[in-house]
């Protein structure tokens, strides 16, 4: 009964079904290959009609598979280039009221930590616990400042234009198809495809995500939404996405709002909030998120969005509250755990931070940064036995020289903490060996050299540090002190002024400046 010639190997599965199944299991490469075979097959003996639908189905499936291979959630993509920032015609008030803008990092209401306690990025924001695309780019106020920001390995300098990043992602078409692009966009008749919604949606995603051809994608979307008589919210969201990429934020806002009127969707809310953030209206974005939470209570991405905005506005305590809310909904949320952890660390609670980081470790996050943080927490929580082994592991796990440099830098701190200046000196040297533009290490080395009395060395190191990281106040302040000691009051004054610019509230700098001014008036 059950023996019927037992066909060896693969049994006769329908190729299209096989491809469809591969797609569902996310085996996109296999799926695309099978579809290609189907598409190459010459028109068979079957009647044309069904052959045509089969052809269309395979075409659509391949399009989807190629798209999925390179898919990155558009919400997570955020790079703001200099051109976008400077030619931002949406800026209304040059000087925003405190707490309503993301452009002035200093305007915190919630009592953000001072740069003396928590290090800042080059744009003057406190360092966050989790690296996101937007934490990397600063928002300089003028084009001159943007250009002058030094470019280091871990740069906060904005890329020259947003298209730079997209182009890099867009090379996907070369990667996935050695024989040239699968669809030749210039030959497509968009009007024809726009009338077939079943094909058009997959085609749009292909053009947008795989080819990164926003202009053509927009053309298609505009035709399609017209064909759908402006009743399909999905097309509006896609048009909004295109507008966003093209920098037409007000137009994007219109589309997203119109889509939200038709159908509440989490993604649409996130896109709209992104537009508001780009328009520098964090308060509107916050309100939108809160409205969204009324509609979708407990949606993690929305709560997380609120927390990120508060964090960017330097309102760390509110951010921490919302991150805690995130954990109530999803206690495996790595970003929330990491941010709460780093927040505790910088508010002098290393023991609590340690618990959060340990949690991450238990969850299977296993990388250099985590052990780095664990090591520091252990050190400041006086668990010295764990400190060195954590750093040892961090060194072992470091994937590139930048990470190794970070570990050595922290080890240098530990060495300073236990008073072994020789070891500290060597650690900082090792930091520089691994990452030649580590400004903090230059600064600390200079302090050590100063203690040894090597003034020239110290001065050279401080100069390097301040040219690498003009946003840090420490090198400026140190060189001011140094110059003052050797009697070079002019240089001391210039450096002190730079230090004050970087950190206006630094008391020691102010005192130094006062002292110097007295000197000058005496002369």
């Amino acid at each position: 009964r059950s023996s019927c010639g037992a066909p060896a190997g693969r049994m006769g599965l329908e190729p299209l079904f096989q491809a469809w199944s591969y797609f569902r299991r996310r085996k996109f490469r296999e799926c695309a290959d099978l579809c290609s075979q189907l598409l190459e097959r010459p028109p068979g003996e079957q009647e044309l009609d069904s052959e045509y639908t089969l052809f269309q189905a395979a075409w659509s499936l391949k399009t989807r598979a190629l798209t999925e291979m390179v898919y990155v959630d558009e919400i997570d993509m955020d790079q703001e280039g200099i051109a976008e920032m400077i030619l931002d015609e949406n800026a209304i008030a040059q000087v925003a009221r405190p707490g309503t803008s993301l452009k002035l990092p200093g305007t915190s209401q919630g009592g953000g930590p001072s740069p003396a306690v928590r290090p800042v990025t080059q744009s003057g924001r406190p360092i966050t616990g989790f690296v996101r695309p937007s934490t990397q780019s600063g928002r300089p106020s003028t084009v001159e400042q943007a250009i002058r920001t030094p470019r280091t390995a871990l740069t906060a300098r904005p890329i020259t234009s947003a298209s730079g990043g997209y182009v890099r992602l867009g090379t996907a078409s070369m990667l996935t198809n050695p024989d040239g692009p699968f669809i030749n966009l210039s030959r497509l008749n968009f009007a024809k495809y726009a009338q077939k919604p079943k094909l058009a949606k997959a085609l749009f995603e292909y053009i947008f995500h795989h080819e990164n051809d926003v202009k053509n994608a927009l053309d298609l979307a505009a035709l399609a939404t017209e064909h759908a008589q402006f009743k399909d919210w999905w097309w509006k969201v896609q048009i909004g996405k295109c507008y966003y990429r093209l920098g037409l934020y007000r137009e994007a806002e219109k589309q997203f709002k119109s889509a939200l009127k038709q159908q509440d969707m989490v993604d649409t809310i996130l896109y709209l909030a992104k537009v508001y953030l780009r328009l520098d209206q964090p308060v509107t974005a916050l309100n939108l998120f809160k409205q969204g939470l009324d509609r979708f209570p407990g949606e993690v991405t929305l709560i997380c969005g609120i927390a990120r905005i508060y964090e960017e506005m330097n309102n760390i305590s509110s951010a921490a509250e919302y991150y805690k809310d995130v954990l109530k909904q999803d206690n495996t949320h790595v970003e929330a755990i990491a941010c709460i952890g780093s927040n505790h660390f910088y508010s002098d609670q290393p023991e609590i931070a340690l618990r959060f980081y340990r949690r991450l470790l238990q969850m299977g996050v296993y990388n250099c940064q985590l052990f780095n943080n664990l090591g520091l927490c252990c050190f400041y929580a006086q668990q010295y036995d764990m400190t060195l082994s954590s750093f040892e592991r961090a060194l072992f796990l470091a994937e590139n020289e930048e990470e190794t440099a970070d570990v050595w830098y922290n080890l240098g701190h530990v060495a300073v903490g236990i008073g072994d200046l020789n070891l500290a000196y060597q650690c900082f040297k090792l930091t520089l060996v691994n990452n030649n533009d580590y400004a903090e290490a230059y600064n600390n080395l200079a302090v050590l050299e100063m203690r040894k009395g090597h003034i020239e060395q110290a001065r050279a190191l401080l100069q390097t540090a301040s040219s690498l990281a003009p946003h840090m106040y420490e090198p400026h302040f140190n060189s001011a002190i140094l110059s003052e000691k050797v009697g070079d009051l002019q240089r001391s004054y210039t450096a002190a002024q730079k230090s004050e610019e970087a950190f206006p509230g630094h008391v020691d700098t102010q005192q130094l400046i006062k002292q110097l001014k007295e000197h000058f008036s005496m002369l």
């Binding site: 329908e14 949606k201 299977g364």
Partner: protein
């Protein structure tokens, strides 16, 4: 990322290299044992059908063979297995197996043996339907509200719903606007089929509507199911979810509320009966399968969602309640009741890993791999540490961030300046207005003792001088080999240089054992250029603005002896006067006193004195050295021309201030330009363009201003460069005069030069 892993209760690996997908797993009491004990039915794409009755295994033991109740190979791939009341006249459960072109319904029965492993199970084919179209998936249920039996609906790859009333084929309908099949399910509350179409919409079709549409083409129906039945179906409701769906499921745990759960590729939706969203959740991973399994709390539904990160998440509505690690990526997940264990999670991976597990607080077995650590022998370590520290101390003594130069060079670079000017000038693009711009050939030789990788030579002369080629890149050099390049130096810009020196530098890598890429090294050498390069002999002139007198302690030397290249012997009459005509136009005259031991240099420009003075002292020293006369010395007793020097300083300072002013103006205009651009952009972007209100004129005006300013700034920069060169020459001269006057030693001159002489370039930082 999870803290815990799923605790394995029972697991096995099915076959070898078989493929499984979503429909291949089914859990039911398929043999109607009545004990309420579920069996696990698995079909594979290779055509194997297996039925398991899992028993708990003691730790470390193999799966008992009697757990496998049945294994048969059917002749076609199995796309889906379902269990339901498929046979008319009985309410017993039967097994429906979907093949590509066939639907078979089997009865599964067991015969008890004397001992447990004597039990026998077999399947018996109750009926089968051959399909005219390739099947994709199926759903079943009491369509139309029939009691006590289940009907089957099969979706074909090309979008036809084929309905079977048990042993007989009922009808087939085409779904409208079909492209690729989506998941299909039946909702008994609304008596409708729900699917997700290629248009990314959830669509619901009433069974009634499907059935009534039959009337239209019943005649064709008799012909064969193959023929497409054409009437367009009316959709009950549609919800656009904006993505493709992986699976769809209808559940109602408490009476009155039934929910449709849709697992999309990026979101998870719960819909009401009428197609409105009850809630949705954005997933931050790629889901692979899901099952809503029960309602623990009134009004909420618990769902298991598996994903491609090998995780299984338990949600209560949208709140994550538990996350657990699985050993594989599940393609299908079910919840089953076994003997004395309820709610076992059954998962199947696409390579045939079948596992029954339960949730527990077993930590996810992530163990950080051991760091490469050795046994610590403290004495040895201490000795090693001391040794290393010694090395480090040595190293820090001898070298630092800027390594000291090595005594023995592996690579030597030498530059030889030919004594004569080039017969044919090699000058390119010279801005000097002289008729002929002379050039001089420099021959640079690189000699290497060891293997040298990627040597590259850079030749650098200070502007306004220039070289014909300043970059050379060579092949890797063998030990004891050499390379030679020839280039020419000439005066490029229309002003006199302050130094007649050049520098060449070789960058190379020396590979070592540890570092095959090579350690970067540098070798360099300086060369002096002849005075003839920038000036030529001319008639001496008596009158001049600036005069300097250098005293010596030896009798005067005739010019033909020290300036053979400038004195035309044929003239001879003016042996104590010599004229230098610079290429740039100015003239300097050198006079030797016939009686005293003095030389006088005079020129209209202060800065022109420098090169000649330097050349004179240099040549005199050389001359007397040749005559082995050691106590030769030059002195200067006149006044240092400070006033003229200060004028040069002021001129340069003024130009610097100008440069700053231009910079400010430029940035101001640039800001203005950008502001206008921004306004224009807003205008143009409007769908109904507003009048430009002369913004374009303003834009063009500003643009002109920017360009004019830039031109002015450039001119200023050129002037500043000249002033800078002049100042540099004058500074050199002043330093030299001071040193001659005070008879300073070389070290003291070096200090003076370090203090006064500016850097190589005139920058803002200066």
């Amino acid at each position: 990322m999870s803290l815990f892993k799923a605790r394995e209760w029972w697991s096995t690996i099915l076959g070898e290299k078989e493929e499984f997908d979503q429909g291949c797993l089914c859990v039911a009491d398929v043999d109607n044992s009545g004990s309420g004990q579920d069996k696990v039915i698995v079909g594979s794409y290779m055509g194997y059908l297996r039925i398991f009755n899992p028993h708990p295994v003691k730790h470390g033991e193999e799966v008992q063979p009697e757990d496998l109740l049945l294994e048969v190979q059917l002749c076609e791939p199995i796309l889906q297995v379902e269990v339901g009341k498929f046979v008319s006249g009985t309410e017993g459960l039967h097994l429906a197996v979907l093949h590509c072109r066939k639907l078979c319904v089997y009865a599964v029965s067991g015969t008890l043996g004397n001992v447990e492993h004597g039990n026998q199970y077999q399947i018996k084919l109750m009926y089968e339907h051959n399909l005219q179209r390739t099947a994709c998936n199926m759903t079943y249920g009491p369509f139309g509200g029939v009691k006590g039996r289940d009907l089957i609906c099969i979706q074909s790859m090309d979008g036809m719903l084929m309905l079977f009333e048990q042993e007989s084929y009922a009808f087939g309908r085409f779904l409208p606007d079909f492209l690729l099949p989506g998941p299909l399910t039946y909702s008994s509350r609304t008596d409708s089929f729900i699917t997700v179409s290629s248009c990314q919409q959830v669509e619901s079709y009433k069974y009634q509507v499907l059935a009534f549409a039959t009337d239209a083409d019943e005649r064709q129906e008799t012909e064969k199911q193959k023929l497409s039945s054409g009437k367009r179906l009316a959709v009950d409701w549609v919800l656009n979810i904006g993505e493709q769906a992986l699976d769809i499921c209808v559940v109602s745990f408490n009476q009155g509320v039934s929910s449709i759960f849709v697992l999309g590729e990026r979101n998870f939706f719960c819909l009401k009966d009428n197609g409105q969203i009850r809630f949705m959740k954005k997933l931050d991973y790629s889901p692979s399968c899901f099952i809503p399994y029960c309602s623990v709390q009134e009004g909420t539904v618990n769902t298991l969602i598996g994903n491609h990160n090998k995780m299984l998440n338990v949600y209560q509505d949208v709140t994550l309640k538990w996350a657990t690690q699985l050993p594989h990526i599940p393609v299908s997940v079910k919840v089953a009741n076994f003997q004395d264990l309820k709610g076992v999670i059954v998962t199947l991976s696409d390579d045939g890993h079948l596992q029954c597990s339960y949730l527990g607080t077993d930590p996810s077995l992530f163990q950080a791999p051991k760091v490469d650590s050795r046994e610590i022998n403290y004495e040895e370590m201490n000795a090693e540490l001391k040794e290393l520290q010694k090395i480090i101390r040595e190293a820090t003594k001898t070298q630092d961030v800027l390594p000291e130069s090595e005594k023995q060079r592996d690579l030597i670079v030498t530059a030889e300046v030919s004594s004569d000017l080039d017969a044919e000038s090699q000058a390119i693009d010279s801005e000097v207005k002289a008729e002929v711009v002379p050039s001089v050939t420099v021959k640079i030789t690189i000699q290497s003792r060891v293997t040298v990788q990627k040597p590259s030579l850079t030749v650098c002369v200070q502007a306004p001088l220039a070289v014909t080629c300043d970059q050379f890149i060579f092949e890797d050099l063998e030990p004891d080999s050499s390379e030679t390049v020839v280039l020419s130096v000439f005066l490029k810009e229309n002003c006199s240089p302050s130094e007649l020196e050049g520098n060449c530098m070789v960058l190379y890598n020396i590979p070592t054992e540890l570092n095959p890429e090579g350690i970067p090294r540098v070798a360099q050498c300086n060369f002096n250029l002849p005075l003839r390069l920038i000036c030529f002999p001319a008639q001496p002139s008596k009158a001049a603005n600036h005069k300097l007198t250098i005293d010596t302690n030896k009798p005067p030397v005739t010019f033909p002896a020290i300036f053979p290249d400038f004195v035309d012997l044929s003239e001879g009459d003016q042996a104590n006067a010599l004229g230098f005509q610079f290429l740039t136009g100015s003239k300097t005259t050198l006079l030797a006193s016939k009686t005293s031991q003095r030389y006088r240099i005079q020129s209209d420009q202060l800065e022109d004195l420098w090169l000649i003075t330097k050349e004179l002292t240099h040549r005199l020293e050389e001359h007397f050295k040749k005559q082995s006369c050691k106590d030769f010395a030059c002195t200067f007793s006149g006044t240092i021309p400070l006033q003229e020097y200060f004028e040069l300083v002021d001129r340069h300072f003024e130009l610097r201030l100008n440069a700053e002013k231009f910079q400010e103006l430029l940035s101001e205009r640039a800001v203005q330009f950008r502001a206008i651009e921004r306004r224009l952009l807003t205008r143009f972007k409007d769908k109904t363009p507003a009048p430009l209100q002369h913004l374009d004129t303003l834009l063009e005006g500003t643009f002109r201003e920017v360009i004019a300013l830039a031109d002015a700034a450039e001119e200023n920069q050129a002037n500043m460069f000249q002033a800078f060169t002049k100042l540099k020459s004058a500074t050199h001269l002043v330093i030299m005069l001071i040193s001659l006057w005070q008879k300073l030693s070389t070290d003291q001159v070096a200090i003076l030069e370090a203090t006064f002489l500016p850097l190589a370039e005139d920058t803002q930082e200066l």
